[in-house]
Symmetry: C2
Subunit: 717 residues, 2 copies
Amino acid sequence: MKKILAFIFLFSLSLTVYAEDGYRLWLRYDKIDNANLLQQYRNKISSLKFTDTSAVLLSAKEELISGLQGLLDKKIAIQNNITEGTLLVGIFSDASIHSYISAKDSTKFGKEGFIIKSVKANQINIIVIAGNTDIGALYGCFHFLRMLQTHQSIEKLSVISFPSIQLRMLDHWDNLSRTVERGYAGMSIWNWQKLPGYIDKRYKDYARANASIGINGVVLNNVNANATILTKDYLIKVAALANVFRAYGIKVYLSARFSAPIEIGNLKTADPLDEQVRNFWKQKADEIYEYIPDFGGFLVKANSEGQPGPQNYNRTHADGANMLADALASHNGIVIWRAFVYSNSNEDRFKQAYNEFKPLDGKFRKNVLLQVKNGPIDFQPREPFHPLFGAMPQTPLMMEFQLTQEYLGFSTHLVYLAPLFKECLDADTYENGKGSAVAKIIDGTLEDHNITGMAGVANIGSDINWTGHPFAQANWYALGRLAWDHNLTSAEIADEWIRQTFTNDPRFVDTVKKIMLASREITVDYMTPLGLHHIMGYSHHYGPAPWYNKAERADWNPVYFHKADSVGIGFDRTSTGSNALSQYEPEVRNAFADIHTCDEKSLLWFHHVPWNYTLQSGRSLWNELCYKYYAGADSVEWMQTSWNALKGKIDDERFEQVKMLLNIQHNEALWWRNACVLYFQTFSGLSIPKGFEQPDKSLEYYESLQFPYAPGIGGNQ
Amino acid sequence: MKKILAFIFLFSLSLTVYAEDGYRLWLRYDKIDNANLLQQYRNKISSLKFTDTSAVLLSAKEELISGLQGLLDKKIAIQNNITEGTLLVGIFSDASIHSYISAKDSTKFGKEGFIIKSVKANQINIIVIAGNTDIGALYGCFHFLRMLQTHQSIEKLSVISFPSIQLRMLDHWDNLSRTVERGYAGMSIWNWQKLPGYIDKRYKDYARANASIGINGVVLNNVNANATILTKDYLIKVAALANVFRAYGIKVYLSARFSAPIEIGNLKTADPLDEQVRNFWKQKADEIYEYIPDFGGFLVKANSEGQPGPQNYNRTHADGANMLADALASHNGIVIWRAFVYSNSNEDRFKQAYNEFKPLDGKFRKNVLLQVKNGPIDFQPREPFHPLFGAMPQTPLMMEFQLTQEYLGFSTHLVYLAPLFKECLDADTYENGKGSAVAKIIDGTLEDHNITGMAGVANIGSDINWTGHPFAQANWYALGRLAWDHNLTSAEIADEWIRQTFTNDPRFVDTVKKIMLASREITVDYMTPLGLHHIMGYSHHYGPAPWYNKAERADWNPVYFHKADSVGIGFDRTSTGSNALSQYEPEVRNAFADIHTCDEKSLLWFHHVPWNYTLQSGRSLWNELCYKYYAGADSVEWMQTSWNALKGKIDDERFEQVKMLLNIQHNEALWWRNACVLYFQTFSGLSIPKGFEQPDKSLEYYESLQFPYAPGIGGNQ
């Protein structure tokens, strides 16, 4: 007994020596701490049998072995025969699986889906995990491990799951210099200098994490692209990464710089209708596929924010996209063309992407997707859904969400983004009448598309915990899970993420879930309540700067977006204003256009509202604005109190990290509140309502703050 | 027994789940794997008693508890009484220590040293670790843990140890944007954006690692300095770091930009004799000490490579240094003024620092050190010692070594630098006749200085393993150990580093020590044999570019340094050439000046040698040059073979990392060899000797290589 205790002590030691540094993400596989459940699981799982040895199934095998041995704290034998408690993993078409799974079921789970089923044959109880492909089986294994990690019953398993969206992607805005545009978690994890010779262990762990949530494509480089990545030296490096990712069902994509024919092709033009240019891309595509036979395709930001594009040659976006699509078509590559364009014009920036792209509907090749940001401006804490959703029925629209918190407190604020994503996905476009949710456009069901996609702009960097803020991991996780199944609720996703990442302790799960689910609305309140948008610091977007009006373009200025004056505040986008609302279907348009029916959460997106206008709360607009700012900041205190009460429920390291970060978040919420209320007060001329703490610093103080070294911008590419 | 086995298995699991990612450096504290030794240690160490509770002793206590419990795999009780096996830790002046340690001993170990002694009193055997200060005691604790980690006997302990040099420092060339100039291990570990609110665990682990090897000062920011770090916003962040480091005996220093009075002080000048400027610095110093009461002082790069300095105002370096020294003096702060200056002139760059500073000897304030790089040019794989060593007897010279491998293969090449450091420290300047080693100048004994220092330009970044290459950790380690005791041999330091970092397995230790000890000479051979220097790629210094001649300054061009022509190769620095040798004492000068006595390892540093000149090997210079390049590249293969034979001796993760890196190193050694031999052949007109593999690519190919995104340069500050 003494010796056993010594060993227990030994184990506890090893836990203290190895810190909970967050590197393991949601794939921790620590021993199940519920003794009854552990016994149940152990009884059900004794051995592993794999039907095949493809690279992907070897990944599955490795993951299951390390996962099960960690969770069950017992050795799991690999065997060739089937005995009581065997976990049988493989491809449906394999004879040994065939006898357990019906063809009807296999039709249901399709190309990337899976079945997990408890079956009994010859008095032997086993569990089968199968897909029609090895990647389907791998996803099934990760799902099974997740069930154990989240303490679900595995008594009578009958799970069928398959993705609702085909391309489930991360877009990295990583530069070749390893700076990351809008990155707040260290350097790019791609170590170009050491590639291809040095394969960082992170590459594999990154692939594991992605595969565990169904992500099957990654764009390695910034959409503000550098043509150098398309040169041989770099393609060899890209191929080394693709080799790692392939075993996890992940394809590599690259952002293509439209002017690459000039920069690396010795041509004088990048005109998409020029024969030499077309040949350049054709040859470049052929070259890429030599190195990377399963290369996914190109992501392109063209004629946007200074990037070159087909319009430089008086061609359309369709001309540009189709040229690249033609180059890739024979290799089954695709083009993801971004709709995020706006020019330096007098037209409301909100309207420009729609104006540009709607006329092109039906003019794109079959292997082109148009990638549209969730909202019409730029990843704000709250945006109405982008009016292109529902406006281009003949074109597959791919969703672009932003995981990296460019406008949401960098990697310092705890903001769970699933509610933001869901708000957009669930929004009804009324394209085909009621029930035409954005999600149904993205998943192809409403408009009957053969190719569908959803991307998240990655929040991943070289920080040990990948995302800087421990809770930012949840946004990576949520993107993958929603792309797999957009019917999952924010709460369901939070629940499983918390259990895997921290603990199944019910009080912890319950409290943290409440914090997460409230966090986005709280952030909206202390940053941009009532439909305010884009009032962050110029260029770096750190902190409040609603006063800023010195940008070289009007539509980069906060004052452009809030339009505060002595009468009121907000951007009139009704027919009396820019009429951006005309881009929506009548049902949507009318709901927003009527100031009485307009959701107050979006009010200032669409209306210039007088300061004394009475809102549903009975408060005037000015008072409500103050109320929201104060409530937002106060709610961060609630988050802090809630979190601090959880001390001891998890490891000290992450507990303290989050505690410190929440403290910063609170200070920055107060900064937002005070700066914005003081600034808008210069227009309203009204007092901060009684009972509210007065700002302790002057507006001049807030206006004087400078952040020349704010992260996420600068750096050579 | 079954249960015990289960626990053993559990433990092995925990090892597999937590990867050997290198984060723990040489402070791993894994259980002693030699059962006999473990028993001996356990018998000798039962409990801990501390005499005091200062912050530094609390650090010692925490380290001893985690270290001993890890190494001995047993709970170590903290107690107030002394019993058999107590480890008694404290300050000599404490009564309970007094009875065990003689005053005579305490005089020996001085302010930062310590004693570790086995003593017996009242039939009770204990071990005492004591210093005259708490930091001395902390160093003693780290030394004791090192003894256990390296499997030394603790039977009859009687260790007295104290540092030979007072200021043992790391200089970080970290920018406020978190890029690191000449950094190859990720971003700066200082997360300025999240400071002071967020204290990364790394800060403490960094302090622990430094304290464990005696480093007691760190300069946080790049010598190409940004005045912004001296503003209040940043001083508060600096203070937060200083608060962490203080408990480990580490002082914070800052690089001061000489023109700060203009940039952040609203002055029109930075003239060191201007009263307003002097007041600016006085007030700035006062402000700094308000935030950081134990602030160390300023490091200054002035009038060098574009940095501002006193010469902008026709003042001397002494004027500049003394002004800052006066501002810091009342706070006991010091100024570390860099001697690395050279102007765009016709004078041999080798000579310029000496010409500039020798006349200033005796003109500096008491609290000024002059920091001199080990060699006269710039951290080359081999340099003769800097001629300022021995030339400024009235000025304390501080050594500046470079840990980050700017010219030595970045973080990709395994190059153990202790032999480079030792070569300089052991070099005899003959200042006071034979026996006037550089080390004796640095440690103050030769010239009787009250203040002494040694710095290493840090190779630390945000990579999980801190230094990129696992073996680069050894250079950080060696700097600390040599600053503590420059009489340690490179082999001794390698031995203890290997044992702590990897394993005590004798075959592993023996093989890896051989690799490490040979690695620097091997690198010299494949990069810059026979005294070649500074022929790396322009600006980024990656790879060979002996052909480069397009820099805006002659002395930034490789051709300036090698001077190859049809007659021969090398820089004539004898009296027939630049006569740089005149800066050395006659004994040194004459030895180098005579081509027959000049150490061939430094030959081309001082002589323009004909291609057909016969060397000691009997080979012509051309053949010897080829021989060295080929031997260097071949020796990397030997390193690979030696390493690969160690598979299984250590964890797979680090084994594979090093294996991949050695493979890159071999490829790059071949690149160096081929590029240099082909290029120099264009001058010698001679064939590559028979039996040597011919380069497989043309000189044009090597000349065409471009590395626009090589790490370590660029980025805003």
